[in-house]
Amino acid sequence: MKNIFSWDRLWKVIPQLNPYIGVSFRIVLSGLVFGTLLGLAVAVLRIKKILIINQILSVYISFMRGTSMLVQLMIIYYGLPLLLKGTIGVDINSWDKLMFVKATFILNEGAFLGELFRAAIESVPAEQREAGYSINLTGPQVFFRIVLPQAVKTAIPAYGVDVIGMFHNTSIAFTLGVIDLVGRAKTIGIGTGHLIEAYVYVAFIYIIVSIILKLLFYLLDRKFTFGTEGTVH
């Protein structure tokens, strides 16, 4: 029992773990960039309430929000190649497993962020739009110059939480055998019989990244105060 944690082993695992931080980052980055774009598209289409598309999107969103990410990963990993081969004859079985992980993150984020953005856009009072029209702005000008900046301000805090959460979720990649930070910690633990040191380092990395992301979103939030700093909101 006295041998449960040793600083020596901690220093030793650090270089073994470091190369895998990048894998986690790559997953988060594609989820962030493409998930945000997908989410914006979903939000705008949902607000426009186009028949059929709206129904399809609402099924997609309830599926993504109602099932666990692990289930989604399995369905995308095993189901998507079958679906694509059966319908359009494209074989994606040879794709890198990391691609399936990224696809899962993008589709999952698209649904969550889509609903987040939709709520934020709809929270901007109708009068803001009307005032824009009354000074003779066009529809797109009203959206991009008046509505969107205010919606962004509303969405920032929840968006920040979402991105940090995404970073914590990358460990599910291990179920496909894609080794990220957590996956590597697990294999080190199995190989050496000492789990704690690797996980301590993983926890340390997560905390650092979370703090950095929080700081970034805090600064972003400050930029979008529109004079409300210091007031309760």
Partner: protein
């Protein structure tokens, strides 16, 4: 100069405007009066296409359009001739006081930036808000916000300014102050259509008072005629509740 003909508007089964016509001459100040739900605000919003009328025509200057099948291009053309002052100010929350004014000048009217800023500063000065130039609306009181709202409409040099209950959201102490600013706008000779419940203001500033009820114009005429010699029973009922029993000067 502005003519609205046979305008009709329903929200579902609720017929809000039943065939309303209204003519406003250049430089005239018209006050729309009437109980809640009489269609005053809807009429005003239809003129600015914030609400789409089911029927009717609108003429501003030389341009005449049919309200129910207006193109986006015509909408913008006619909106370019109007300004709108909102009940809840409607200032852009993501823009400062001066940006609220320049936005319409630079983006809407395509005026060069330097010129727009100069113009906006003049108008800010005119409504007494120069010192709040770079404040966001969240840092301004209701009365200050409404001054900017009025400045935003005036800066665009519209042919007509539409006021939708501009003082209803203000606390009583500030109402007089804002009415003073609106009177200044009227004194400039700008054509105005004002929806308000401020009778003293209507009497003082309006050239014409239009009394609406149940989606129709019940009576219109000079304030002194409509207020003290109403022809219609409905007008009398309404006024008896808001006007003092007898004018002060009867002694």
């Amino acid at each position: 100069m502005i003519e609205i003909k046979n305008i009709k508007k329903s929200f579902g089964k609720n017929e809000v405007l039943k065939d309303v016509s209204l003519k406003v001459d250049k430089g005239e100040v018209v006050v729309l009066l009437g109980p809640s739900g009489s269609g005053k605000t809807t009429l005003l919003r239809c003129i600015n296409f914030l609400e789409k009328a089911d029927e009717g025509t609108l003429t501003i200057g030389e341009d005449t359009v049919e309200l129910h099948k207006i193109s986006n291009k015509d909408k913008r053309k006619l909106r370019g001739k109007t300004g709108f002052v909102f009940q809840n100010y409607g200032l852009f929350k993501n823009k400062t006081a001066i940006q609220n004014i320049t936005e319409g000048l630079i983006v809407g009217r395509k005026i060069p930036k330097a010129e727009a800023i100069k113009k906006a500063e003049e108008v800010l000065e005119w409504v007494g808000m120069s010192d709040k130039r770079d404040y966001y609306p969240s840092k301004l009181s209701g009365g200050q916000q409404q001054r900017i709202g009025i400045a935003r409409a005036v800066a665009l040099d519209p042919d007509v300014i539409l006021f939708d209950e501009p003082t209803s959201a203000l606390d009583p102490e500030l109402v007089g102050e804002i009415l003073g600013v609106i009177k200044k706008v009227a004194d400039k000779g700008i054509t105005m259509i004002v929806v308000t419940h401020e009778m003293a203001f209507a009497q003082d500033v309006a050239d014409k008072v239009v009394f609406m009820d149940g989606g129709v114009v019940v009576e219109e005429g000079k304030p002194s005629d409509v207020f003290y010699h109403p022809k219609e029973e409905r007008t009398r009922q309404f006024l008896s509740r808001i006007l003092p029993e007898e004018p002060d000067y009867y002694i």
